[in-house]
């Protein structure tokens, strides 16, 4: 290992990366755009559900119920009618996702304590949204019922008083869940892409052979290739975390040291994977293909979009070998649960073993293919 040669390689690599405006946009623009995309557009929150109301009762109470539904951000009334058939038509056209039908005698039933009825009709073709909207609506209507009962002095026989509270993300904002996870995807993508392509590009150009004729050793070459990428991914990490905290107000409750430790191990794993891809690809196209074949299962089996706990057992076991899974777990632990280094020793250790294994194997293969 010779410091002059490693420095020369790092300097050369940095020059090439920073000189090309396209690469620069990729390195620093893409992470920001992706973070904004995931922060804003990719949301599983159910808000502003278009709702239709048919009020056959037309009383103060029935109007109060409609007001209760629209008091929050959850429902937005786009249709008011006095014919029930309108609800069905609007649902068919996709104009509304939920219909509320208040039958005649609603107010009098309430007052008499006979148990008033309200009908909810939901567009089940989007089952996720329908389930969530139904949950919100039932809660609001039940609370409305309770308030009315109390106001009229009726005692209600209630068996269980259920009060749910979501920890770590009290308002269950999907953004709080998504944005830290995006950090994991971005780091992986950047490290893989930049490492694999920069090696394969040199193979295509013939400069790799030129380097092999020089006294540069494979070890020096590996350092020369990975150090600049590691620096860039760390800059991306800082950029994305800053944006997540300051712009999206994602709480960073845990220790920054823990976050950086986890990221360091994770980046090392990704660099190793990038190197590995570079040894099995002759052209940049091949490298791209291999990368996508690897990325897709890595994301699906990471728990980013689909919870691991609901996967079939086989796939649950498979996720144990996925570094993305472990890093996402670490990131969420640190961001949302306020973990410090000591709380996450196990996943850290697993990631460390993975980093050592993948990077070691990649280096061994890299030496062999060059030698």
């Amino acid at each position: 290992m010779d410091r002059t040669r490693i420095l020369a390689l790092v300097r050369k690599e940095a020059r090439q990366l920073l000189r090309d405006p396209k690469t620069k946009r990729l390195m620093f623009g893409a992470p920001i755009i992706q973070l904004l995309m995931f922060g804003y557009a990719v949301t599983t929150d159910v808000n502003h559900v278009p709702t239709g109301i048919v009020d056959h009762d037309q009383t103060q109470q029935s109007r109060a119920l409609a007001d209760a539904l629209t008091a929050g951000d959850y429902f937005r009334i786009v249709l008011r009618s006095d014919r029930s058939a309108d609800l069905g038509r609007a649902l068919d056209h996709g104009d509304i996702l939920m219909g509320v039908d208040i039958p005649p005698g609603f107010a009098s039933d309430l007052a008499a304590g006979r148990g008033a009825r309200v009908q909810l009709i939901l567009d089940g073709s989007n089952s996720n949204t329908a389930t969530v909207a139904q949950g919100y609506a039932s809660r609001i209507i039940q609370q409305f019922g309770l308030r009315q009962a109390r106001a009229t002095g009726l005692s209600l026989d209630r068996g269980v008083d259920l009060r749910t509270r979501a920890w770590f993300n009290p308002s269950l904002l999907s953004r709080v869940y998504n944005v830290p996870a995006v950090v994991g995807l971005l780091l992986l993508l950047m490290a893989l892409l930049l490492t694999a392509l920069s090696v394969v590009r040199e193979r295509e150009l013939g400069t790799l052979e030129q380097l092999m004729v020089s006294p540069v050793t494979p070890g020096e070459l590996i350092l020369g290739k990975t150090i600049p990428v590691a620096i860039i991914t760390f800059i991306d990490l800082l950029l994305v975390v800053t944006l997540a905290v300051l712009w999206f107000h994602i709480p960073l409750r845990g220790s920054i040291l823990a976050l950086f430790l986890a990221a360091g191990l994770y980046i090392l794993t990704a660099l190793g994977l990038g190197l590995f891809i570079s040894t099995i690809s002759r052209t940049q196209q091949e490298a791209f293909m291999t990368m996508f074949l690897l990325l897709l299962p890595a994301i699906i089996l990471s728990g980013f979009m689909y919870p691991i706990m609901t996967m079939p057992a086989f796939f649950q076991h498979l996720t144990l070998f996925n570094p993305v899974r472990w890093f996402l777990e670490l990131v969420r632990e640190v961001f949302l649960k306020g973990a410090g280094v000591r709380d996450i020793l196990l996943p850290l250790a697993i990631l460390a073993v993975m980093a050592a294994g993948v990077f070691g194997a990649a280096v061994a293969r890299f030496r062999k293919t060059l030698g």
């Binding site: 040669r5 420095l7 050369k12 020059r15 000189r19 150009l205 052979e209 004729v213 020089s214």
Partner: protein, 309 residues
């Protein structure tokens, strides 16, 4: 200037599957020599040079550079040799200067030596005024000169060049050969491969390669003289008929059409009169053999021997 053997090949062989690209090549290149490896595509030139450069291990045989075995110690000779591949990879997004400096760093050229070395390289390559231009924006000939500068910045004792003039314009080609002669005059040993036989005549000695085998090894002039008195230009009114009659002549080894003329190769010590006596032959004139004539002749002989065996 020419001293003891710097490169010794002993039965050097490289196989790629069923194909034997280089077949039991044995030769010596002496220090300070301008040595040509000459042959058509597929002769094994690139394979030989890559083995010498230590990037391709031999399948059998040995190659020693300054006593270091390239098979056993591929790194050993790297610090003092330079290899310029046919498609030398330049970093097209770096400038001329940055490319050269990069190789200077890799070979650990001391900083204090660099200004003088750069100045010399710029002087013979005329690259000085393009110092800050991106390598990708240079012309083909200029790129080749930059590749040579990158190869020379560490003052190699041995320079291996794989078809350096391939696809280079005639002026740049002449410049490159002038540079090579200058280097040799300074004591650098140069091994250059080429498929242009006219260029090969500029070398001190050449190895003629065909399909992985060495057909001949000597100074171009010696090779040419080996055919002196054996090559004739024959004038005739009916070239095709005359060719067939000449081929039937026992002393004639080869007779080929060459425009209006026939080029005839005869066995040694055949008098011209014996050719002139063939019916239809109007005049016979002795020819100086070019390296190309020698090569074609040797390929024909090798094919004849193979057919006989």
């Amino acid at each position: 200037m020419i001293g003891e053997a710097l490169i010794v090949l002993d039965g050097l062989t490289r196989r790629f599957g069923a194909l034997t690209a280089v077949d039991r090549l044995s030769l010596e290149v002496r220090t300070g020599e301008l040595f040509g490896i000459v042959g058509p595509d597929g002769a094994g030139k690139t394979t030989t040079l890559r083995m010498l450069a230590g990037v391709l291990p031999p399948s059998a045989g040995e190659a020693h550079i300054a006593g270091i075995s390239v098979g056993r110690d591929p790194e050993g000779a790297k610090p003092f040799l330079a290899y310029m591949a046919q498609r030398f990879g330049l970093y097209e997004d770096l400038t001329v200067r940055e490319n050269i400096e990069f190789y200077a760093d890799l070979y650990r050229v001391p900083r204090r030596d660099r200004p003088a070395r750069l100045e010399r390289l710029y002087a013979f390559s005329n690259l000085g005024e393009f110092e800050h231009r991106l390598a990708g924006k240079l012309s083909g000939g200029m790129k080749q000169k930059l590749a040579l500068c990158c190869s020379l910045i560490h003052h190699p004792r041995l320079l291996l060049l794989d078809e350096p003039t391939f696809g280079v314009d005639p002026i740049s080609r002449r410049d490159l050969w002038l540079i090579l002669h200058e280097l040799v005059a300074e004591g650098v040993t140069v091994v250059v491969s080429t498929s242009y036989l006219d260029e090969a005549e500029r070398c001190d000695r050449v190895a003629l390669l065909h399909q992985g085998r060495m057909l001949a090894l000597d100074a171009p002039t010696v090779l040419q003289e080996s055919m002196s008195g054996r090559l004739f230009a024959v004038t005739t009114a009916a070239p095709r008929a005359a060719r067939d009659r000449l081929r039937a002549h026992p002393a004639v080894q080869r007779a080929v059409l060459f425009g209006d003329l026939l080029h005839v190769v005869v066995q040694p010590d055949t008098p011209a009169a014996s050719i002139a006596a063939v019916p239809g032959v109007q005049a016979v004139r002795p020819l100086d053999a070019s390296l190309e004539d020698v090569f074609i002749h040797l390929v024909g002989e090798a094919a004849g021997q193979e057919a006989a065996a």
